[in-house]
């Protein structure tokens, strides 16, 4: 068995480009999913039952089904529902953003619930509005619980972007799998792909651990 690592060197720019798309996809997803999760959390606290029900159903659905299937589903169903042609990137991004918003909403909700109700009462007793109490009193305290969970979600999200390769979004996994079938250097290409993910993901996992430690100290 001989290995030919030159294939990696030759295709290095392609792989890097794939890694770039992976990073961009994760970033854009999170930028959408943080406000998305907050919105879902607020909706789940709404006094109107239909609003609450809708948000809860959304969250439960996206948390309880495989992301890979969500990606397929958005890719095939969204065009049928809306009659607009969505490209693969948009479909993948939509699925990821909905999925992560649902998880973020859980994170925000449990963070907010961890603040004892007396704090909200004290804020209201001072004469604050519900939104002021949320913004000035509850959220700043919930941050210490929310940040570590968000960091974990980010680490998972970064890996989960690989799942949109199934609808041919040219992020790192897709590029790797394409190269594999074009060059037939299966071991070399797949190993390089794994190593690239490792190089990017490992520091992120470490940073997430650091956030966990920091937030514990200040609690």
């Amino acid at each position: 068995m001989t290995f030919d690592w030159s294939v990696i060197v030759q295709n290095w720019p392609l792989l890097l480009q794939g890694a770039g798309v992976t990073i961009a996809l994760a970033l854009v997803t999170m930028v959408i999913a943080v406000p998305g999760g907050l919105l879902l959390t607020l909706m789940r606290g709404s006094p109107r039952a239909p609003v609450r029900g809708l948000a809860t159903a959304f969250v439960e659905f996206f948390r309880s089904t495989p992301l890979m299937l969500q990606v397929y589903w958005v890719f095939y169903v969204l065009p049928m529902l809306t009659d607009v042609q969505v490209d693969a990137f948009a479909a993948g991004l939509t699925a990821l953003a909905c999925n992560v918003s649902a998880f973020n909403s859980e994170t925000f909700r449990s963070g907010i619930n961890s603040i004892r109700p007396g704090q909200r009462q004290a804020a209201l007793a001072l004469g604050m509005t519900g939104l002021q109490a949320m913004r000035l009193i509850i959220l700043p305290q919930a941050v210490h619980r929310v940040l570590p969970a968000l960091a974990n979600t980010w680490v998972s999200l970064f890996k989960d972007t690989s799942l949109v390769s199934i609808i041919a979004v040219s992020e790192l996994s897709y590029v790797g799998l394409q190269l594999r079938s074009q060059t037939f250097r299966v071991l070399e290409v797949l190993t390089a792909m794994a190593v690239l993910y490792w190089l990017m993901g490992y520091p992120q996992a470490k940073i997430a651990d650091w956030i966990h430690r920091t937030c514990k100290v200040t609690e």
Binding site: G118, Q119, Q121, A122, L124, A125, L126, G127, M128, L136
Partner: protein, 258 residues
Amino acid sequence: MTAPTDPQPILRVTEVRKHYGPVQALDGVSLDVSRGEVVCLIGPSGSGKSTLLRTLNALEPIDGGQVVFDGIDVHARQTDLRRVRQRMGMVFQNFELFPHLSVLGNVVVGPRQILKRPLEEAEHQARELLGKVGLADKARMRPAELSGGQQQRVAIARALAMRPDMMLFDEPTSALDPETIGEVLSVMKRLADEGMTMVVVTHEMTFAARVADRVAVFDRGRIIEVGPPQQIFEAATAARTRDFLRHLDWDGASDLMS
């Protein structure tokens, strides 16, 4: 009963009812509080004292009856609740200081964020109030760095910063170590002497006897007796009041009166 009825009380509570599931927490409670008056609410645990206090500023909705504060029907739909709450300061058993803000920040947050006062004015007033409760030197500290008694005094300053017309206290000393209870009670006594209208839920009978203008005795969601401290502590008419006081080892307040 004995107190002459004030034609224009600042607070008028009429037949308020409130239940939690099967529990009738308030079973038709009526009470008037005049301007400048100090009313202490006493009674056994679970009798509805805290619940009544929370209905006064509508932190709890009510099932029936009426709470009128300075002519405003507190529980009416069109009432500007926040305005009412700004005019009624509230002090909690567990202080409920905001742990992410400094001591000064806790006192400033209301005037700044709710009343939109300029920062300098708000801070100036906050420092004055902290001085008044004896904590001028603690402004920069975090609530967690203070003793319970100090935290509760900050909470009082925080409520006073809104310049309320009336103060509500829910067992302000129950969570405190015995040695720090006195410092909180003396701040409250000073406040009463300055003419603040106060409704105080308390188990500190000595404080009630010394400071209250009237004492209301709760039992099972009702006020069973109201009157000046002498009357309640020396000559209670209701048997349950006497039971309750005996249970507390209350041995008469004669030495405290006069």
